[in-house]
Symmetry: C2
Subunit: 227 residues, 2 copies
DNA sequence: TTCGTCATGTAATGGGTTACATGATTAC
DNA sequence: GTAATCATGTAACCCATTACATGACGAA
């Protein structure tokens, strides 16, 4: 249950859970998920795959010909597949909903694999991220209130813009959380799913108390060194 | 003219150009500028200061008492000041407007010090960043067009949201560029400045050709490994 | 035949964090 | 007296990038 599982590892395992892939292809898909759209280097990917093999979470098999959807023989490449251990590990990672799941670096990956994540976990992560962002917003507004006047025009504008981006992300989360709740309600009522992810962000309960469970991943909420 | 000058170094020099500061205080201000609002660790800051001292760009002086605005004796701390070399170096960094100035990591710092930057350079950096983002947008839309159908709901939503954020930043840049141009026009006409940074983003010329000058910082535009 | 893309890797390097170590000063 | 904040630093480590090395395949 302990193993750190970096963002990259989670992403690799998550993708391989959909279908076996070789490194080169893996990288391309990774770029769509990781950080939005930035190139991950092979210098990170291959050592990561190596390590996963060593730990028995995936296996690599040289596949010379006839890939599933017989395109063309191409060339020898190593197709990686999840092992039973790997699947188990992935499930445990995907089941966690502590701070580690909603911090900047990991949230995106976790969100990208929401399709393989339990509905309650999804909600917990979304709410966790939202309160994390709100907390940050509060900090910035506080410190801004104290130092606003002695900041020049551009610094101020940069701050304003940053704040706005975060506020927008909070509203995005509001919408997603509402959608998830609607779905939950529909599920328990036994109705066919109707809610779409792109539903408008209803104003949501004005004061959402969110007693998120910090059950895993060590790492508690009150770390100093934040403001 | 060559020296790499990391983001952190630029930020430090830029802040010290306003007024001499000691490490602890420096860090707090750095956090407002760098990456928006994230804690920079002393483990990065102090070695950086050390290196700047070694290279003669700043000098540290133990200041035991009477800080400028006589608060209280506090305690021995090391107040850093820019040297002539340091000022010169900073000016040359601030004068550069190549790709290195508008990439993700450095753009924020450069923008934060626009108050100390030449107007033409400001425009060039803003335009450079905008075309960088547009280029990225194009790439994502292209690859999205090819793989859209086999992506699940959440991955798709993540991508949509990422795209939206970037589009928003482009509009932000549109506004800033217009403001800068207005100011330039006002300047050459000898009028008192009236344009505010928060002016609405006019639709801007529908197709802005931007022949940005890649004059410094090695690093050309057509690096592979991007899509 | 040469260029672009597919494909897999390693070594050096870089830029940061965390944890550690230390100690004075201030507020409760 | 004791906790929080001020203040400065070092050492170990992490995770990723860049540059390098290699080579096959398909298309121009």
């Amino acid at each position: 249950m302990r193993s750190k599982s970096s963002v990259l590892e989670t992403a690799v395992l998550g993708l391989l859970n959909d279908s076996p892939l070789h490194g080169y292809e893996l990288r391309k898909r990774l770029n769509l998920v990781l950080g939005s759209f930035r190139a991950l280097s092979y210098g990170s990917l291959y050592p990561c795959l190596k390590s996963l093999v060593t730990r028995g979470l995936i296996v690599g098999a040289a596949s010379n010909e006839a890939p599933p959807h017989a395109l063309s023989g191409k060339r020898a490449r190593i197709v990686y597949t999840l092992t039973a251990d790997g699947k188990e590990h992935l499930q445990s990672v995907l089941a966690s909903s502590g701070p580690a799941a909603w911090e900047d670096d990991s949230f995106d990956v976790r969100f990208a694999f929401f399709g393989q994540t339990d509905a309650e976990t999804r909600i917990r992560i979304l709410e966790g991220r939202r309160s994390r962002l709100n907390e940050r917003l509060e900090n910035v507004r506080d410190s801004s209130a104290r130092t606003r006047e002695r900041l020049d025009e551009y610094t101020l504008e940069l701050q304003r813009h940053g704040l706005e981006q975060v506020e927008r992300e909070v509203r995005w989360l509001d919408g997603l959380i509402n959608t998830e709740r609607d779905r939950r309600r529909a599920r328990t009522a036994g109705v066919t799913p109707g809610a779409s992810l792109t539903a408008d962000a209803q104003p949501a309960a004005p004061d959402q108390i969110n007693p998120y469970v910090v059950d895993d991943e060590g790492r508690d909420t009150d770390s100093k060194e934040r403001g």
